[in-house]
Subunit: 76 residues, 2 copies
């Protein structure tokens, strides 16, 4: 089975990488970019029958820093 974990910085946490992208897009002439946030997507190829609880344990333990990041699990 496959699952994707999307990890984004929580609202209110400064995202300098996203700001840099926004600035660069503006410099390239792309107007109308009001905001950019960058996150991670981690594509997992898992043994069949892996429970969502197990994936959540991976997120809490390693994949996301839950102090500043939120995550979303998408089982495909």
């Amino acid at each position: 089975m496959k699952a994707n974990v999307h990890v984004m910085l929580k609202d209110g946490v400064l995202d300098p990488q996203g700001e840099a992208i926004r600035h660069a897009l503006g410099s390239m002439g792309h107007t109308g970019v009001n905001g950019v946030r960058q996150g991670k997507v981690i594509a997992l190829d898992l043994a069949d029958g892996t429970s969502e609880d197990q994936i959540r344990a991976m997120c809490e333990g390693l994949l996301a820093n839950t102090v500043i990041e939120s995550y979303r699990i998408e089982v495909l």
Copy 2:
């Protein structure tokens, strides 16, 4: 309007970061993780009426390195 751009390394391109995650998950006792690939998700807050062609131009010009990365645009 909001759009997400998902950027992943193409198949066959070595992903050391994904490998490191796979190894770390194994060390933590999470068995059954057969493969991990890490990618980026870029959340764009755009002016209303921005066309998908314009977003594609941002991807080709800055957000993705199309030699080794593929991207997917998701308009929300």
